[in-house]
């Protein structure tokens, strides 16, 4: 990909609105000492340029594994992957490391929760950004420096010119995460995958970084997958959300629609248990129990043991993910009742 190519909405070709990324029937399993763990089961979603999707779920829901598998990062952990991950027409499943490395960073980039600790402490941040630009972007020393400056300004580093020569320890945690975002977007990826990039940060800093990711995504027209366990975070960065539970998507749709009219009891329970949804602790409605650590140990609907409206049939067979409204599918036998509040 040429570095001279302009950013902006050039990628969002309105005459060809095909998806940039299409994930179909994705299954990821791991072999552990306690047997096979099916971390992701039958996950489908697609994303066009400029769209943002939050993968929302608790620990063990499969949200992070889904994100990492798109970049082929679970292979080294012994994952077995079935299904299709079609990026820009190519199915990435089964690609070897060499081929994946050509996509990583250039077409699909990733920022992690602990990225801010992964900067090299003995090189200046300027050197770390220009290295990416020179080695992988093919830029000259001068061009790389100029672009590094632009990037640092773009991610909101004050006095960027004076700070190019500073080392990671001279920046706060939030500023280090901004630098990691600068490196991630340096080669103008078309898809950014962010895995809880603000979890370790203070709320003031977190809000700033979420707003930054949101505005970068809108400015550059890249697609965004944002992995989080926090509804309030998802609301701040994404247009659509896929709620995951125990390896499966249980509900998906436009985030506003889902928050106003959830059609799955799990989504509704997540909304009611969020601290921001109450004014006093007595109003909090926690979800009882915890998610199963082995999905296959639960029969029928995975959520039924914790579900406030479960009925006998929920333990017998698993509901399919079906449209309850156009573009708003839910995996619940009683989705209509949940949506209308009539259960």
């Amino acid at each position: 990909m040429s570095m001279a190519q302009s950013v902006g909405l050039a990628h969002a070709d309105e005459t060809l609105p095909g998806p940039l990324l299409r994930v179909s029937d994705l299954n990821v399993s791991f072999t552990t000492e306690r047997g096979t763990v099916r971390a992701v089961q039958g996950v489908d979603f697609s994303l066009r340029a400029g769209e943002s999707l939050a993968l929302l779920g608790e620990s063990g829901s499969g949200k992070s594994v889904t994100g990492k598998t798109i970049l082929g990062l679970t292979g080294s952990q012994g994952a077995r992957v079935r299904g299709e991950i079609v990026f820009d027409g190519d199915n990435l499943v089964g690609w070897d490391e060499d081929r994946l490395n050509r996509v990583r960073g250039t077409d699909i980039a990733m920022v992690f929760q602990d990225s801010l600790d992964s900067l090299n402490p003995v090189f200046s941040v300027g050197a770390q950004i220009t290295e990416t630009l020179r080695v992988r972007g093919g830029l000259s020393r001068e061009d790389a420096r100029a672009r590094a400056l632009t990037l640092l300004r773009q991610v909101g580093i004050p006095d960027a010119e004076q700070r190019l020569g500073d080392y990671p320890y001279q920046f706060s945690g939030g500023m280090r995460q901004r630098i990691c975002i600068a490196i991630a977007i340096a080669l103008k990826p078309r898809l950014l995958i962010a895995d809880e990039p603000t979890t370790a940060l203070d709320v003031t800093v977190q809000a700033g970084i979420l707003d930054l990711i949101r505005s970068l995504q809108q400015e550059t027209g890249m697609a965004l997958i944002f992995v989080t366990h926090d509804l309030s975070v998802a609301r701040r960065v994404a247009d659509t959300v896929a709620v995951m539970y125990s390896g499966r998507i249980v509900e998906t749709g436009a985030i506003r629609e889902l928050f106003r009219h959830p059609a799955h009891p799990y989504t509704e329970a997540l909304l009611r248990s969020h601290p921001a949804a109450a004014r006093h602790w007595e109003e909090l409605a926690p979800i009882g129990g915890s998610a199963p650590d082995r999905a296959d140990q639960v029969s029928g609907c995975r959520f039924h043991p914790r579900c406030p409206i479960a009925r006998p049939e929920c333990a017998e067979s698993e509901p399919a993910l079906l449209d309850i409204r156009p573009g708003h599918p839910s995996r619940c036998f009683f989705a209509e009742e949940v949506l209308n509040g009539t259960y």
Binding site: T204, I209, S232, R235, F259, S273, P275, A276, P286
Partner: protein
């Protein structure tokens, strides 16, 4: 410290269980500089009451907590437990203090021994503080505690290794309340947990407080969460208290620009109401750049503040009650800031108009 009037949750004349008076904790920094992690902080908390200490990394809130536990010895100041000066205690007496002031840490993965069983974890303090629970009663008392924190009895013989974060935090709570402490210091006790699990643990902690009438010192950077549980709120910034009052006062009429910024950044499920948020007050880069200003003169928050004026560079604002404000704030312009009623966010005032309807009420 200015006394907080209108104390809601306690009977008049009720003495604080724990009182901290002008506490300083200074460390040696790089190149002989001095880091004032806690710089003249006074707080008090009463039986059955929750005092929330709010601030970001580097505010000194966790250092303060450690000084309360005497895990570190402060540079100066006094800590009183029922009027008794804790810093004057001898070693043996510190042990008795620790029985009465217990702490819950943020990370339930690091704070529990992975190879001990739950029963060993919970009973270990009783082997140190002899006489709290007679040995013959150990297993009966463990069973009681497990049921109090909502864990199955079978967990007694299991190590925490396979348990979830929420379950581990319940074990840590069982261990702490097993000593029947009067004060519980909670340092970000739910921020390492999934949001869906936070509500369970918060409800558990608050029910236990009602039942056992413990005083809570609850340390957090999450104002949405603090709003649900706090009677009093203390906002710290770089070692100092910048605002304090009842939860109602601080949330309805924040009088320090830093508190307003914290409120604006607090998690919310509401759709963004762009008009209600003043961009100057919540400029993300301003808030995120981290402190870089010399704190020996002037206001410590000035480099990140939208309301900065020349006098902020030279005059250190004191924590006082400004005219027209019903609680204390350390800002030269607290009255004006409180009236500006900037926020209308999930954690902020329910309505901006509260400023006008209740602003003068005392």
């Amino acid at each position: 410290m200015a006394r907080i009037e209108n104390t809601i949750a306690t009977a008049p004349g009720d003495e604080p269980v724990l009182r901290v008076d002008d506490l300083h904790m200074h460390f040696k920094g790089r190149h002989g500089s001095q880091v004032r992690a806690v710089d003249g902080v006074s707080i008090e908390v009463r039986r059955g009451e929750t005092l929330a200490i709010v601030g970001e990394s580097g505010s000194g809130k966790s250092t303060l907590a450690r000084a309360l536990m005497r895990l570190i010895d402060p540079t100066s100041g006094r800590v009183y437990f029922h009027g008794q000066d804790l810093l004057a205690l001898r070693k043996g007496q510190v042990r008795e203090l620790r029985r009465n002031i217990q702490m819950i840490f943020q990370d339930p993965y690091a704070s529990l021994h992975p190879l001990q069983t739950t029963s060993e974890i919970v009973t270990e303090p009783w082997r140190i503080h002899r006489g709290v629970v007679p040995r013959a009663d150990f297993s009966r008392r463990v069973a009681e505690l497990l049921s109090q924190v909502g864990l199955p009895q079978a967990y007694a013989s299991m190590p925490p290794a396979r348990l979830s974060g929420g379950e581990r935090q319940r074990i840590a709570i069982a261990r702490a309340i097993g000593l029947s402490p009067e004060v519980l210091v909670l340092d970000e006790p739910v921020s390492a947990l999934d949001v869906s699990i936070q509500a369970q643990v918060i409800k558990l902690l608050m029910r236990l407080q009602q039942e056992l009438q413990m005083a809570y010192v609850f340390i957090s950077h999450d104002l949405a969460l603090v709003r649900l549980i706090a009677d009093h709120v203390v906002v710290m910034y770089r070692g100092r208290i910048v605002e304090q009052g009842t939860a109602e006062e601080v949330y309805s009429r924040p009088a320090h620009p830093y508190t307003q910024a914290l409120l604006a950044a607090a998690p919310s499920l509401e759709e963004e109401d762009e008009d209600a948020i003043d961009e100057k007050a919540t400029d993300p880069v301003l808030l995120d750049r981290g402190p870089s200003v010399d704190i020996s003169v002037g206001c410590r928050f000035r480099d990140r503040c939208w309301r900065r004026e020349a006098r902020c560079d030279t005059d250190d604002p004191r924590l006082v009650r400004h005219e027209g404000v019903d609680h204390d704030a350390a800002c030269h312009f607290a009255g004006e800031v409180a009236r500006s009623g900037i926020l209308n966010n999930g954690a902020g005032p329910a309505r901006v108009t509260m400023t006008t309807t209740e602003g003068g009420a005392r």
